[in-house]
Every structure is written in C-alpha cells, then in structure tokens.
Symmetry: D3
Subunit: 302 residues, 6 copies
C-alpha cells in the first residue's frame, strides 16, 4: 500500500491533469444518457479483428459500452479466415459472375471457421476484458431462418426471418451475444450469410438504436478520389444520392444497402467507422467530435 | 379428410391394437412422474452420433423427454471427427504414454471440429425434431474454467469450476443446451476437455437427477469375456469393486470414474446405455425393463 | 434389487418388445407437442363413471394427460346417482313434457348427490392416480351464474355467465378442477345445470382447445341403424346436416348442440368417445388412428 | 337523487349521531391495525349456522373482516344436519362407549350432508354478502390426510397431516375458504373429522393469528353453576387448571383441547364466542370490551 | 390482566351497547367495499390543519381510510403559516389586482414554510397515528412541472404536467404521500402553486375516485344567505348553474373550478366537507347520511 | 446539420486528441466495473454546496455516477444557511460547553432551512443535470428514529434506528435520495441530527460500499502543520492512531469518528475529499491517482 505523502506541487500537477480527465467524462455524459438501455449492433471485421492491439482496444470499448448500460451485439464475418482455411485444405474457389460459390465442402469449412474459430475466439477476447459474452450461431434456437439466395451460389442464404427471442433473453441476462452469420435453410441445412446483411437484419429485428460497421476505411467520401472529402454526417436521402453517383467504392455498397434497409426497419442511426483507429467505437460514441461517418434519418437531420 | 366408415371387425382389431398402446403409455406414467422437472445430462457419442437412423431416433427421444417435462442437457464428444479432420490437414498425432498430445495446431482443429462442426450439426438435428436447442461452448459465459491437465499433453484441460448459471437460464427458457467440451484456461486460451468428464462435472454442477452415457457397448458385464453377464443394476460400492477387479474394459474406465464422481457430487442415478439400439434413451427411461446398466447409490439400493 | 444377468437371447427378445414400445411413444410425439399447454374439458359420465375398471383407466388417462402438459378440466354429471338417491328417499319424480321437474326437495337431493357424492368421489379417484384434483361447484367463487331455464321445471338453470377466473387459477397452480354442474340463480339459490351444457359453456369460457364427451356409444353413425357406419371425423357443417337428418339418437342431440355452441365459441375440436373402452381418452389423443368421432371446424377440414 | 336541503337543527342532530359513529370507528382502529393481514380460523356451528338472522349477521361479519384485510377461513360442522339426514334415511345410529359409529353407509350420508349441503349453502351465504367464498373439502388437493381414530368407530379420521398449500393459494387470491371436515384415509377413502379438531389443526397449520369457536354458550365460566362467573380472559395455564377442575361442560372439553393444541402449535389467541349474539365476531374483534372468553398464551398475559 | 367476572346485567348492557356498534360497522360495509383500492385526494387546510384536536381526528381518519384499503393522498396548503412567516421577517406583501405577488424573497419564505414546516409537521402527525406517510414536494422526481401563471405575480406556477409515477410508487409501497404544492418552472426554479388547484390536477392525474376539500364551511348553500339551504348532493350541471348564479362565496370559487376540471379529467366524486367537524372524513365516507356536499357527474345522478 | 468535410491534417489532430480521451475512459473502466451496483453515501457540504460552479460540477458528477450504475445517496448539512436564517430572525444562539443549544424556536428554523431550503434546492440542482432526485427527511416513513443526545442541548438527536426500506425503494426505482438530517424523537417531535453522523449511520444501514465526505480541506495530513504531508491512503488502525496523536483538526474529528463507526458497520471504503476542487467526486472515483484521502479496512490493505 502506498501511503506516501504528496508535495503540494505534485498535487497541483495531478489536479490539473485529473481535471482535464474530469472534463472528458463530463463531455461524455449526454451521450451516455442518450444511448443507455439501447441496443447497438456492431459488425465486427477487418483490421479490428486481425491486428492484436486493435482487438484489445475493441474488446475494451465493448466492455465499457456494456458497463454504461448500452447493450452491444457483435456480428462477425470471417472472410480472410475462410480463405486461409480453404487454402490449407487445397480447395480451389469457384466463381459465378464474380461471386464465390459455396458448395457443400466449402460450407463445411465456412461453418468450421466462423462457428469453430472466429466465434469462440471473439467470445474469449471479450470475456478477457471483463464483460461476459456468449457465442451464438443463427442455428441456435433457429435465430436465422434463410432461403437460398441464388441457386448457382449453393449454400448462400438470404434471411427470411429473424427469431430474436433468444438474443433478447441473453441481453436481458446481461450477456453480450457474439453472432456467427450462419442460418438454417428450408432443407434444415446450414447456409452462409453475408455478415453485413446479417448485422443489418438483426439490428432491425432487435429494434436497435444504432448499427455500426467497423471497416478499414475512414468513412464515406464525397469524392472517392479526394481523401479530404470525408463526410461526417449525412441523411438517408443523401446516402441514396451517393449510391447512385458512383462515389461509393464497390466493397462499401452492400454495407450501405444493408444499412439503408436496417434504418427503414427502425434503426435510428448508423455509423461507418475506421476500425484501424484504436478505440474507434468509444471515440464515435462518447466524444462530441466523433470519427467516421454517421447516417441519420432525414427526419432527424433538421 | 378421411371420413370413411369403419367396419365393426376392423374397429375391434384397431381397438385391440390401440389398447396395447394404451397399456404402454400407462406403464410409462410412473417414470414420467418421477423424472419430470429434473435435469438429465446425456453424454452423446459413438454410433448414435454417426449412424443416420440412430441420429434421428436419438433426436426423437430427446424431444420427447423434453416434452414430458424433463430437462435434457447434451454433452457431445467428437473423437472420430477430430481424427478425420487431422488426417485431412495431414497432421500426425503425437503421443505421450499412450495419450494424444494437443498442441496449438491440434487445438485449433479440435475447436473447429467440436464447436464448428459437431455442435451446430447436433443443434440442427434436435431443432429438426421439434425441440429447440442452443449450442454452447465452455467458453460462453465462462461456463468451464480449466487448468492444464498435464503439461506434456498441451491444451488438455481439467475442469476446476463450472459456472452453470448460463445453462440454467437456457433451460429455464425452455431450450436444450448442446455443450461442446472446450474450456477457458488460466491463460485465457481454449483447452480441450474429455467429454465424459465434462458430462460428469456438468451433471454434478447442475444437480442433475440422471447422468447418461450413450456408448457402443450393451452395458457393464460381470465377466468381460461373457456377454451373458450383462449387469442391469448395480450400486456404487459394487462399481468400485468392479473397477478394481479388471472386469472393466479400458475405454469404459474413464466414464465410470467420471460417473462415480458425479454421483458423489449429488447425481442420483447414472446409466450406461447401448447407443446402437434405436430409441435407447426412451426405452431406458420409460419402460420398466429398461436396457443397459443403471448405477445407483448404495443408500437407494435397499 | 435384481442385479441378475441377462442371456443374449432374452436380451434380444426384450429389445424387440421394447422397440415396439419406443415406436409407440414416437408416434405419440406430434400429438403431445400439439396439445400441451392447452385446456381440455372432459364431460365425464356413463359407464366410465360407474364401472370400477373403467374408472381406474379413466383416472390413469387424466393423470397422463396432465403430466405431458395438457390441462384437463373434468365436468361430471350424476343422473343415475340422483335417481337412486331419490328412490332411497322415496321421492317420486314428476315430469313436464318429458322433462324432470326439479322442485326444492329434488334440488336438495341433486346437490347432495352431485356435490356431496359424485364430486368428492371423482376427486379422490384422480388423487389416487398421482395427479392432484380439487372439487369445484358452480357456486364457488360464483363460477356459474344461471337463470331459470323454464319455470315449470323448477330449479333447472341456464348458464348466463361463466366466471372462469377461479378455475384458471386452479389450473395455473397445477390442479385438475373437477366441476359439479350446479349454479347460482338470480335469487341466490342453487340450480341444477345439464352437465353436457355446462361442459360446453365452460370449454368456450376457458378457450379450451378440446371438448370431449365420454359416452356409452361408439360415436356418431352415418346411419343410426348400421353399426358399420361409424364416422371418424366430420365438420360442423356436416354435423348440422346430421342433426337435421334424424340420424342422431335422442340422447345425443343435447350433447351435439352444446358441442356446436362451444365450437362457435372458440373450441377447436370436439370428440364423442366410447367411454366403455379402456383408456379411451389416451387412445383418441395419442394414437394416429384414434377411436370415436372427432368434430372439427369447416375451416380446419381442408 | 335527494338534493333536499337540511335544516340546521336536523344537521346538528345528524352530526351528533354521526359523531358517535365516528368514535366507534376510531375505537376499532387499533384492532384493525393489529389483525389485518393475519389469518383467522373460525369454527362455524350451532345456532349461528341454523337461525336465519344469525346466519345473515355472521356472513356480514365475515365479509367485513375480509374487507379490512383479515383472512378468514371457515370450518363448519354439521351435526344436526347429519342427524336429520340419517333420520330421513331411517338409519339407526349405533354407539360405542357413547361415541357414534360411522360405518360406510353413515359415512356416505355424512359426506352428502357436509360436502353436498352445509358446505355449498355456506358458500352461497357468504357470496350473497359481497365477499367471495370457495368450498373446499379435506379431499381437495389432499388437504387433510387422516388415519382411523379408533377402529370400533369406523370412518372417523384423526388428522395426521394438513397440506395447507391449496388453502393458502385460495386466500392469496382473495377468496374465503369454506372447509368441510372430511379427510382422506390411508385406504384412499373419505373419513369424517371432528370439526372442532379440524379447525384447530388448520389454525396451527396455517400459522393463524386467531382461532374462534362460535358456540351456543356465553363463554367459559369460573363456576359452571354460576352464570355470573363468565371469564373474559384467561391464560393457557388457567385453562389447563379449569380442564382439571370439572368446571368445564362435557361439550366444551373437546373444543378446549383442540384450542390448547392449536395454541401450542403457534396460534396467538383463541376465542369462545356466543354465536347466538348477532355480530358476535365483529363485537369480539373490533370493540375494546369484546364478548365471550379469550384465551391467550401465558407469555402474553403479563 | 383483567379476568374479572361479569354480572349478567352488566353483560346485557354491554351487549346492547356493542350491538349498536356492530350495526354501525355493518352500515359502513357497503361504503368500504365501494371505495377500497381507490385513490382519494384530500386537500388539507383550514381549521383542520390548525386546531389541535381537529388535527388528531383528521390523522385518525386518514389512518383508518388507509387501513380499510383506500389510498389517501394529502395535498396541503399553508396560507396562514406563510402570512405569519412573512410578518416575522417583516416582509410587506404586495398585491396586483387583489392577488398576492410572489417575488423571489417571498418564494423563499413560501418554500421554507410549505416544505420546511407544514409538510414535515403533517408527515409527523400521520405517522403518530399508525399509518406511514412520506413528504413530497412537486420538485421531487419532477412531480409538478409548471409555467408562470401571470408574470405580474412572479413565482406563481400553473401546472402543465403531473409526473405521477413517483406518487404511484409510494402508494404501491403502502405509504401515504403528503404533498407540498411547489413545482418546477421552465427556468428550473421553484414556483408556488395554489393548493386547491394542485389537489384537483393531482386527482385527475392519479385517476382518483374521490377529491375531497376540507374547508371551514358546512358545504354549498342553495342560497348563500340561508344556512338552512345546505345542499347534500348535486351534479356538475347544477354546480355550473350555481357558479353562474352568484350563490357561491368568493373563497369557494377556485375550489369549485378545480373540482369541476378534476371531474372532467375522470374523478368520480368530489366532496366539500366541514373540516371543523371532528372525524369529518370518516362521517362523509362511511355513514349513509354523510355530512357536507357531494358533487357527482350528471351521468351518475340518475 | 454540419456535413462539412474534414482535411486530413485536421482529422489527424482530432484523432490524436480523441485517442487521449479514449485512454481516459479505458483507465476508468476497472473502477466503473468495481463500483457499479453499489451504494455510495455522499455527505454534501462546505464550498461544494455554496459556490455556484462547484454546485454545477457536483451535480454533474452525481449524475454520471448514477448513469454508470452506482447508487448515490446525498446527505446534506446546512450550518451556514441555518446561521444566516437565525440572524435574519434575530435569534441569538446559546451555547453549552461550546455546543449550540437547539431550543424549540431554533429547531423550527433548522427544519425550515434544512427541509424547506437546502433540501429542495439540492433536489432541483440534481434534476437539472439529468438524474432524478427525490427529497427525503428522516421523518418520512420514520427513516431516522432518534433520542435526545444531551438534554442541555435541546432538540439535538442521536440516531437509534435507521428504517432504510424507504430509501432502498427509492433507489430501486432509479431515484437519487437527497436526505435532510432531521429525525423523529420518542416524543414524536423533530430533532436536528449532525449531518456527518447521519451520513455515517445511513451508510452502515444501507450496506454502502463507500462513504464520502466532501470537505473544505485537501484531506488528512500526517502532520497538520505541513501541507506537504497529505495522506493518500490509510487504514482504520492508522486512523485510530492519528485520532490519538493530535494530528487531526477539531472540525475533522466528528467526521472521522462517524466514518470509523460506519466502516465497523460494514462500509468498505471512505473518502475525505476536497470539495473545493471541481469534479472532485469523479476524479477520486474514476482516475487511478485519485485526490484526497481514502480510508480502508486493515484487512484490505495487504
């Protein structure tokens, strides 16, 4: 135990520093007030899922969000992990019009990777930061019911129904659900689901306040070629314009379409965040300046 | 809609047949009364997990147990699946004194197989039979906390603590937990757990009424060499004698030791069942003659 | 304790027999799933109430229905008991247009017989089979409010209002209500109610899934004179035609009218069962072939 | 609607009269405070059960006790009703050492009378006064489990166990239980129970605050021959002395023995009241002077 | 302990007296039935708040109302206390068109008096009579949100919104709220509210059954000059006529307007009582003749 | 809506700044985890109650503590307000051995000031910062039962019993209780209680985790004469030594004695904070360095 005495000078310096801290908490207060008790669906992927330090600060942020009364739900993807597993097995991917075909063998690897690797690893990561997570697949309690998206693509599912009761009970019990995007088809077999879409559908089904995409870009740009043109806030109408204008990169389009549907389904605000920034979640949620791009409904933009 | 008339003769035959049926329900009544509301931990493995028809009747039985008010918990192994996955990856198993070493690479395959293959497949199987299952790993909500069993064996865990709250809530919500025997080590990493041991520890932690091992043998024999010597019922004392007598096959010994510990921990009755028999669970639970071997406490044997 | 060994032959025979049993449980599974949690009002009368063996199998069936999660409500009559009690008292029945007059003296005997004899005897019968029953009269908690049906008939009541809260609470507490068909008149005095009608009104008030009449006939016949013409299933429309056709016996008419009203009031299915068959309830509920006649709504007959 | 004006004189008179009333409520306040929320078992019998006007004021009192938050439980006898029913049937009572033999025939009449006549009549009586009563026999939910009291007496039961859960739930639901003293024997058959004893056993089992006997005497006398010697309050010790002294009438002895056992079992206070006085219950409970004799524990008499 | 014997004569006298008492309880029974479980807002003021004996009988009455299951809410004023406090401080009241101006200094005295003197004194008074009261100001949990009534009058508030959740929870916890009529203005500062108006608004917000004004007059007169013309009952229509007729004293007008609004907001009955009569509340509520003037809705006057 | 674009430089600066912020939240995480769900009794007084800016940051801090799941209870004093009110009334304080005498007149001013001025002002202050507070006096629901501390001192109470049920329910309802230190004496009259003592008693009665004194000093000094000797942490044993050593200022002694008693009664940690520092509460609770002096149990100091 340190019971050492403190000199007045040292005390003054400490107080100056801690008072800066206090101001920061103070600044966060209105945001905490506004979001607590609300559900926040976070699509977890990209660098934030791979870089070790970013993984730690991500888990830290999720734990803090949970502690101040927000209910986070994590939906993870796993593209790079799946590709690397396929390589290990020596399976050559097949393509139809630029989309990867998920045949039965591929689906086994997808499931083993998402459910058997990424999901438990994410659960462990969060548990190591003091919150309590529980892994969920869309098969558990029939959470995701899907149909085949396109018969040429094989076991790729399109969500028809989200049975959200199981997730709601987990959240009511104080747990953070970590969701693998696999669903049950009409044939009873497992289907892979696009994680961006799964996050959007879940956000709508849960009546989430917020939907957050952790990506590897800074946000949306008014002009793709100009990194000076980062958009901080935009409305759904403006987003629709952008989608029509060609200013959106290919990889971003499915995210934005899912996001727009989720907001049509009742989600209040969505965020495109740069997952390469440490504590990106916290900074967007609890500081007035935020980082990344926030999408809001037209009606809230006045 | 069949509204066709029935001849008196046909009606008599029908009644004769249906009355036989009624007697069977009637016979099951006292067992249903005795077990309803109680927890039954079922170690699922062997042929019952591989043979397609046995898988169906297993799921049927679990659904019926659940419907009459019993709370089943399934703990599955996955030895053959793991071996086959390792072969696919071309990983050569290493052995220490006859026990397989689980190094980091092996553990990744173990987790991918148990959590990413066997577990969701079992969940889907039960869901297809009308009950509602949810997959759980020992990492979820820190359900299994383990320490390293033997440092030469690598990532093999010994359960130190079962945090059963999560499973209890799932059961209270009417779900059937399907548990993969993976736990969290003191280093935060996943460890493989022997499924027989995991089932026993879980049964004790949940205060289960029954612990059931689905195996590929008829039960215990008084004399291993004599298939005429199947034991229908025995006490813990007699079991201990048998364990000392050499009459127990090698593969059965760890099951029986786990079973004995579980009963010392409060489990009332344990069963060694022949999973190769269709509806083995139902027959043991709901018919007076039963199948397999039942182990009871000495005090209950009077 | 029998720990004797079993020969392989004996074991095979046993397994053959028990596997037949397992199939029967398996067959019952979808019916149990469909009915559990639902209320089933059973009009108890005829031979099933008099013959000692039938009484036992009736109680067995009620206990099993209750155990698998169905909520049975028993409404009993007592005609023969009342007639015999009147004879003992030397009271001569009086008739108006073929209907028995219930004057004050007769009503006292009716109440003493239904409430003081048949009701507690039925409660004891069920309690002896492991379920827990509680006797109820329509006077308790003002369950049945009646008006005089016809002033020439004296204390014969027509139900105006069913206060079902009391019965619902008993069922919620896991009890099986056994109901005597006596109600409270506007003058505060007790009135006798036809048990068939009481069962129908109660089924509608409770939102019962099923209404079952235990009778002393096989069911409905397409042609009263031809015992070959038993109808297994029919719709309400067809029932109405039959009622107009003269194919219905006199005794059955009031049952069918009550049944039709109950179904108009929301009951899903009704059954006319032969109470002379042991385990008639179980056979109708849990075997695909059923016995007796089932009435369904036109909309469900597609 | 009377909107007529009031003269000042009339108003003064009214106020004088109403202020007397107010004082009476005021006086009752501490008693209501002391008893509310507590259970009061009332043995109902004698004139209060036969005389029409006394029946009405009894029901009024029970309703008022209930309204101010006391939980009354009524246990009724039915001696005179049984005797008259036996006469009607022409059954000659048999006696062993001065005690009536209850053979099977007699027991049927006892049950028909208590359960089929007195019980529903009492339920109707209370319901007509605005409280809500429900009839209960000791057979319902196995409330009274009895053994044979003396084999020479036939179906006379001695209470071995009171399963009070059913009655407690009725009271929690705001109902007033009206209990017929019939219990279930080890042979499953109904047995008659002395109503005074049943009331005492029930009071102890329910942890009742008070046990009240409505009788046809003023209370206990210090000297049986001297009606000037009514005792208003006495302790259990003094009661034991009196029981030994011969100052207690024969009919009173079983009541006092039951009362003493009930108080040994935890009942706080017992009352012997004159049921021939209108509103006897109310006067004893809510006026400082009381009527009749109150028995208290020695420890409370300081 | 008094165990003295009672002479028969004395007993008879006692019984005659107590039977009169019983009749009074009996008479109160229907009123208790009708009002229990309902909320009754009582404006407490005038002599009943100042005269020591009236204070005691008021508290007695409130405790008895509470005990029989009515939920009283007390709203107090404090005019005379405020005037005397202002005199002590030597503050001269200012007036605008006959209405007192509440400047900042005056408001401080108003708050100190209502919240710091009258409120805790009333809480203590009720607590001393066995019920449990809790003091509340309109600032607690933002119960009263007000706007400035008239800018010339300063800190005089007009209720815009009643947040009644806090009071409802207090009542659910078995407490009697004692409310000081102070509210929070849009500037966050405290404003004084007319107590008559506060009582009316609160009664409407709470869905109260009754609103009672304790005043220093007998009630309403058909002719103000004729004390013979006290009105016992009147309808809202008739009240509106009276308000237009000049038959209402100046002091009574704001009470009647608040009362009329409260009844338009759902209150069933209102009472103008003479608080100078001991036990005025009890007499109005529990005796058929009542005292004072009751106002009912036109629809209830048939 | 600002949708302006951001230059990369500006973005980098922003990120640098916000990342510092994120680290601060991150640092606070373990403290939030440790304290959430726990009760914290805060003695509010001194400059923090008088200086306008300190009042605002105090309310901010209380609101933030509440938002992150801590349950604050505020106990306020009011010495300077009372002195100034007495001066206004021209009442001369009387002293006995250095302690102020609280005669009946003084007590009226004390109550008017604490309950009618400081308490509602503090409630308003907190409500204006987004948490919801409710004012409570020790008279409400008989929260503080006191006896006279010293008859020469008049209406000065010593707490004998804390009835904490009322406060617990307020906290369970999400409210922040603001408590005025006035209690009910055995004569039913209000008594003034030392606020430091009231806070300590309340902390013990509520099983609080923390007891915090906001004072006008930096904390405790090892050597009163040396402002370099501020003690950051000390144990109860060391505190007891200090109390015996003369190193404690007079004003601090009663606080420390109350604190020591509270910790003997189960409080885990106590804090002497400098209320003159903005956000003192937040800094002590959520930063690793803290400010002021923390007292812990000897057992926790290892």
């Amino acid at each position: 135990m340190n019971t050492g005495h403190t000199s007045p000078l040292r005390a003054k310096q400490m107080i100056a520093s801690t008072m800066g801290k206090a101001r920061i908490f103070s600044e966060a207060l209105p945001f905490i007030k506004a979001y607590r008790g609300h559900t926040m669906v976070i699509k977890y992927g990209g660098s934030a899922m791979i870089d070790d330090q970013l993984r730690e600060t991500f888990a830290d942020d999720v734990a803090l969000l949970h502690l101040v009364g927000i209910k986070p739900v994590i939906v993870h993807g796993g593209g790079p992990h799946i590709s690397s597993a396929m390589k290990r097995f020596g399976i050559e991917p097949r393509w139809v019009e630029g989309l990867r075909v998920t045949d039965a063998d591929t689906m086994r690897i997808v499931q083993a990777t998402l459910v058997g690797e990424v999901n438990p690893d994410t659960v462990r990561l969060i548990n190591a930061h003091g919150a309590v997570a529980a892994g969920v697949t869309g098969l558990d309690a029939n959470t995701f019911e899907v149909t085949q998206a396109d018969e040429r693509l094989g076991y790729v599912g399109e969500i028809q129904k989200v049975n959200s009761g199981y997730l709601i009970r987990l959240m009511d019990d104080g747990l953070i659900p970590v969701v693998a995007p696999v669903g049950r088809g009409p044939d009873g077999l497992p289907y892979n689901i696009n994680a961006d879409t799964a996050a959007g559908s879940l956000a709508a089904a849960l009546g989430a306040e917020k939907l957050v995409y952790l990506t590897d870009v800074e946000g949306l740009y008014a002009d793709l070629a100009d990194t000076n043109s980062l958009i901080q806030r935009l409305t759904i109408s403006r987003l629709t314009e952008l989608l029509g204008s060609g200013a959106i990169s290919k990889g971003m389009i499915p995210k934005l379409i899912s996001l727009r549907e989720a907001m049509a389904g009742g989600v209040k605000q969505s965020h495109i965040l740069d997952g390469r920034v440490q504590h990106a979640l916290l900074l967007e949620m609890f500081t007035p300046e935020g980082i990344g791009t926030m999408v809001m409904n037209d009606a809230d933009a006045r």
